[in-house]
């Protein structure tokens, strides 16, 4: 099940996640490639979010969660003692299911990451980072005349793109997206999907989605999870046209889940 092409960004081997005594991920081996979009699909509760949150150690914030196995980013185990979780999260950005802009101005939302990581020392540098991030997120034209209004005052789709801009602003290498379009209308979704496709040039992207069409549209690789197991992984085209596993076929044709 291991990818054969492209340069590997994340290597995960025998990953188990426990919430207390409950095992949510039961030994997953998966590689995430650079400059590709990897889609995680599967029925609700199968552990997609849990797996995704292992990749930037967001599970650390959940008291009951325990992660075992190896997860390597560029060959370095991110759960190693020597790895600083702050630096890791600066390299592996995250966009959440529900847009969660900070209750600050649009400018401050985007400048938040660069500020805490000291990425820009001068105001002009910061301005530039904010502008390029908003441009990459496809939001600049809509908000450039009102950067000081509240981020929370934007529409849902704009908020989600603001959150993407916020993630891009710290120049991560990987972007994790957990159902980024579930709160958006079709037009905003199309906008975000377009954006994901553009971002692929520079980043490795992992996206969790419940929409088969979306997975088919935006991703190059697809991983199908079921009950904490990775059932099937491969090129998106193969998975959708010619799945090897019965369960995968049933799921993508809508027979369960």
């Amino acid at each position: 099940m291991i990818a054969d092409t492209g340069n590997v960004k994340f290597t995960t081997r025998d990953v188990h996640v426990f919430y207390g005594a409950k095992e949510a991920i039961k030994g997953v081996d998966l590689d995430i490639n650079n400059n590709e979009v990897t889609a995680l699909i599967g029925p609700s509760g199968c552990g997609k979010s849990t797996y995704l949150r292992c990749l930037n150690r967001m599970n650390d914030t959940v008291d009951s969660a325990r992660v075992t196995g190896t997860i390597e980013l560029d060959g370095v185990d991110i759960y190693d003692r020597s790895v600083d979780v702050v630096q890791l999260r600066a390299r592996v950005g995250m966009v959440f299911q529900k847009p969660n802009p900070f209750p600050k101005s649009i400018y401050e939302n985007v400048a938040y990451g660069p500020r805490i990581h000291g990425l820009a020392t001068k105001k002009s540098e910061l301005d530039e980072v904010v502008e390029t991030s908003l441009r990459k997120a496809g939001l600049w034209n809509e908000v450039n005349d009102r950067l000081d209004t509240q981020g929370t005052a934007l529409s849902g789709g704009q908020q989600q793109r603001l959150c993407i801009a916020r993630a891009i602003a710290v120049s991560p290498e990987v972007i994790l997206m957990d159902e980024p379009c579930s709160a958006l209308d079709p037009i905003a979704t199309a906008r975000v999907e377009e954006l994901i496709d553009e971002l692929r040039e520079n980043y490795a992207i992992v996206i969790v989605t419940h929409s088969m069409q979306q997975a088919a549209r935006v991703s190059q690789k697809t991983a199908f999870f079921h009950l904490g197991d990775l059932v099937e992984y491969g090129d998106t085209e193969d998975i959708f046209t010619n799945p090897r596993e019965e369960r995968t076929r049933d799921y993508i044709t809508g027979r369960f889940g």
């Binding site: 999260r89 950005g93 959440f96 900070f102 990451g113 805490i116 929370t152 916020r166």
Partner: protein
């Protein structure tokens, strides 16, 4: 018949009315709830409410009216010279009548007073009797009217809800009217005070020395400078906030963001117990422990600290207020959505960065609210100040000296052995009014801040 017994009878009648209304609606609907406009219990409630309203309003009107009516009658029966004489003598005579009537002892009373006391008692007794009859009659009539209205298509639910709504409105207006009443009564006394002492002497006076004049001498005696007393309040409040805001806020942050659920479950209730300790106990603590400790400690390092000082009061008051700040702030911080924390952590922010840059700004309106609440507690606090800071109105910025506050002076002026019309007593109302205006401004300002931020953060 006593009023208590009458009330019990009315309550019994109300219950009976409920049952009767219910029975009637069941009978007229023939057990078929479909034909009814409202659920059966609404019809019962409606009949019961009508009876209760009629009975209690007749009773209330009667009880309010009976006093003045009887007194008017007694006044007419007073001997002519007393009735037409000095009004204060008349009041005295009437008071004597009532006193004799209630105590039953005629010792030292005028003969006419003893006679009128008997009249008074008999009038009161017959008034009670007529009231009972009137109330029961009203209940009966109301019951008959309401009972007849119980028909399947009657809009019982709407009526009941209208009555409930009216009750709620009355209750909320009681609170508002009470406030207005308190303010008005203070206002009149304050105006009276300012007719005796010029306002500029009060508001800008730097000396508080209301020499207690002999009763009845009247006129302006002593100096009523507000500034030293008000300064005491402000000074002690500032000291208290310097203790309680940092400590309270930081413990709230620790409880909300760092502490595990087990520790939180123990620590938060304990912190809240602090809020339940009577302030007079804090006063002991200040008087017996903190004051001497500070004095002796100060002496060791060459500081001259009075046993009663602004510092002692501020410190102890600050401790008293900690739970107000911390408990409320903790709730507010907990109410900040988890998604904001995740967003910040997801960008690689540390815990303290997340707290400083995301959580505290988002929680700020609530935190400001809790601080303002704490300030008004501090401003209104009396007991700790009396015991810890003393009663001497010094105008000083030295926290090691004794000062006193507005509330302490209100108490000492009102409990003095003074005529109620002397400026020495009336000044208490002017002080109270000033305090009221200050806290009002504080609250309005706090509301303004909270609203402003709420617009931004919602």
């Amino acid at each position: 018949m006593s009023v208590t017994l009458l009330i019990l009878i009315i309550l019994g009648a109300v219950t009976a009315a409920y049952v009767a209304g219910l029975a009637r609606v069941r009978a007229v609907s023939g057990g078929n709830a479909r034909v009814l406009h409202s659920r059966p219990s609404y019809y019962g409630t409606y009949v019961a409410l009508v009876v209760a309203l009629a009975a209690f309003s007749v009773m209330a009107v009667w009880l309010i009216a009976q006093g003045p009516v009887i007194m008017g009658h007694i006044t007419d029966l007073l001997p002519a010279d007393v009735r037409n004489g000095d009004p204060s003598m008349r009041e005295l005579a009437l008071a004597q009548v009532v006193n004799v009537a209630q105590s039953g002892s005629a010792f030292g009373a005028e003969p006419y007073a003893v006679k009128l006391a008997a009249t008074y008692n008999s009038m009161l007794a017959s008034s009670r009797l007529y009231m009972t009859i009137a109330v029961l009659l009203a209940a009966l009539v109301a019951f008959a009217l309401a009972y007849r209205q119980v028909r399947p298509q009657a809009r019982a639910r709407n009526w009941v809800e209208a009555v409930v709504k009216a009750l709620l409105i009355i209750c909320s207006s009681i609170a508002v009217l009470t406030t207005v009443g308190i303010v008005l009564s203070m206002l009149f006394q304050t105006i009276h005070f300012f007719s005796l002492v010029p306002p500029e002497n009060f508001f800008f006076g730097l000396v508080w020395d209301p020499r207690f004049a002999a009763a009845g001498s009247g006129g302006e005696t002593g100096q009523f400078g507000l500034i030293p007393v008000l300064w005491g309040t402000v000074f002690i409040t500032i000291l208290a906030m310097m203790v309680s805001v940092p400590v309270g806020l930081m413990s709230a942050i620790y409880l909300a963001e760092y502490a595990g659920p087990r520790f939180r479950g123990i620590a938060k209730p304990i912190l809240e117990i602090l809020a339940g300790i009577p302030t007079v106990v804090y006063g002991f603590f200040a008087l017996i422990t903190v004051g001497p400790f500070l004095r002796d400690g100060g002496a060791l390092i060459g500081l001259d600290i009075d046993a009663r000082s602004a510092l002692t009061a501020g410190l102890v008051m600050g401790i008293m207020i900690i739970p107000f700040v911390s408990s409320l702030s903790d709730d507010v911080i907990n109410a900040v959505p988890q998604s904001l924390r995740d967003g910040s952590y997801g960008l690689g922010a540390t815990k303290s960065e997340t707290i400083r840059r995301v959580i505290l700004p988002a929680a700020l309106p609530g935190i400001v609210g809790s601080i303002i609440l704490a300030v008004s507690r501090a401003v209104g606090e009396t007991m700790i100040v009396v015991m810890a800071a003393g009663v001497a109105a010094n105008l000083t910025a030295n926290p090691f000296q004794a000062v006193t506050t507005v509330t302490v002076k209100i108490v000492s002026q009102l409990t003095g052995d003074q005529e109620f019309t002397s400026p020495q007593t009336l000044v208490a109302f002017a002080l109270g009014m000033t305090l009221f205006v200050i806290t009002l401004i504080l609250n309005v300002y706090a509301l303004h801040i909270v609203r402003k931020y709420r617009e931004q953060y919602d």
